[in-house]
């Protein structure tokens, strides 16, 4: 039996909604098949008020063993570092986060806000939001760069806006079943099993990427979304096209450009007008290249690939 406590900070509850849609395994499977005891969760917990506070206090004192502490949303520090804008059970949430993280065997940050700050932390960041152990790419965050939970691992980050439900439940199962030692984390503390490949890996538009045929408007089934509509699939680490959403689709498959929400910088360019759904260029060349590709190589590859693109690549081949 592994005790799990889930709290929310500066959050929209999107990751809780995502978690409740998990299928492999489902949220119920965690309890019935994998021995996870959910002490409290904002959408599932039955306790209210002082009864919640009692659970938290018992976790901190050790009366209840806290195996897994899950946090969703940013850690809010406003105003002036006090955290008073986000109070919970009679005190700033940031204080609960610190003490519960120190008491837990494992700390898991779910979603872009809890991992890297996400949308609340974009400039000018009025809520003084940070992630648990990062603020964007900078290590530190609320718990500090050197933080390690009792298990010896730093915060395990499962980013996304929201995180895919199966990423969440599969990591929780790995921890609960004693296989946390199999988890290897990248430099941003993301489990490599999910975040080594790219969003583009498995995208049905890859042939259009290869032949440099662009989608020019939303709703088109042909063409690649990277060239004009700002898709970040070639430089975003996620398995969105390997572990599909709702088991059958993904943003890019449905014609929606990847926003790069599993990367620390999300949302890119602070959502300035003209930067969303539009590939940013300098003299016609994309500012952000596919990972590992340089500008000269990109230009050479594009000229060659476009010159040899087959006729079918310019047509909508999905019409029956």
């Amino acid at each position: 039996m592994a005790n799990l406590l889930w709290l929310q900070g500066g959050a929209c509850s999107g990751n809780t909604m995502s978690f409740l849609n998990a299928e492999e395994p489902s949220a119920c499977d965690l309890v019935t098949d994998f021995g996870i005891n959910i002490l409290w969760q904002p959408s599932l917990g039955l306790e209210l008020g002082d009864n919640v506070k009692t659970i938290l206090q018992k976790c901190i004192s050790g009366e209840i063993k806290l195996d897994i502490f899950v946090f969703e949303g940013t850690v809010v520090n406003a105003p002036n570092g006090t955290g008073e804008w986000n109070r919970f059970c009679g005190r700033p949430m940031k204080d609960w986060v610190k003490e519960l993280s120190d008491a837990a065997d494992f700390v898991v940050a779910i979603g872009d806000c809890a991992t890297y700050g996400g949308i609340p932390a974009m400039a000018p960041n009025p809520s003084e939001s940070v992630g648990l152990q990062f603020l964007k790419r900078a290590k530190g965050g609320s718990l500090g760069a050197g933080f390690k939970s009792r298990s010896g691992l730093p915060v395990i980050n499962i980013p996304g806006c929201p995180a895919h439900p199966d990423w969440v439940t599969q990591i929780l199962v790995a921890i609960a079943t004693g296989r946390a030692g199999d988890l290897t984390l990248d430099e941003f503390h993301r489990p490599k099993t999910f975040f080594s490949s790219f969003t583009q890996t498995g995208c049905t538009r890859n042939m259009h990427f290869a032949y440099k045929v662009s989608t020019t408007a939303f709703g088109q089934r042909k063409g690649c979304l990277f060239y004009d509509l700002g898709c970040r699939g070639p430089m975003t680490h996620s398995p969105c096209n390997r572990i599909l959403w709702n088991r059958h689709s993904s943003k890019t498959r449905a014609g929606m450009p990847c926003l790069g929400c599993t990367e620390p910088e999300f949302p890119f360019f602070d959502l300035n007008p003209g930067t969303v759904f539009k590939t940013q260029t300098v003299m016609g060349v994309p500012k952000d290249m596919p990972t590992g590709v340089d500008k000269v190589g990109y230009i050479k590859l594009t000229a060659a690939a476009k010159g040899m693109s087959p006729k079918w690549a310019e047509e909508d081949i999905f019409v029956v």
Binding site: G274, M283, K306
Partner: protein, 103 residues
């Protein structure tokens, strides 16, 4: 008018002195957006205004040491010899150029 005839008409307009806004090229995203907005607002279906605002030429323009021919542009459909930018949607030749070129 079929696309070949329209292509010939455009070639003729460019060859006979239609003054287009070749410079400045669209260097930044903001400049691209500004030109595209002008195409929507000022040009509509007017062929000459499209050519002028987009800065069409019947030869390849080189900007910052980079040739910008239609044939390497992302909006260019190789087999149709066609510019697929929604605000333009014009038949072109591979060696032509415009200032909305992007690779």
């Amino acid at each position: 008018m079929d696309l070949d005839a329209l292509r010939r008409k455009i070639a003729e307009r460019l060859a006979t002195g239609l003054q287009t806004e070749v410079w400045p090229r669209a260097g930044t995203g903001e400049e691209v957006n500004a030109i595209v907005t002008r195409l929507r607002v000022e040009a509509g279906d007017d062929l000459d205004r499209k050519l002028v605002i987009a800065g069409f030429t019947d030869h390849t323009v080189v900007a910052e040491d980079m040739p910008q021919p239609c044939e390497t542009c992302m909006y260019y459909k190789v087999h149709a010899r066609f510019c697929d930018l929604p605000e333009l949607m014009l038949p072109v030749e591979p060696h032509w150029s415009c200032r909305l070129w992007r690779i």
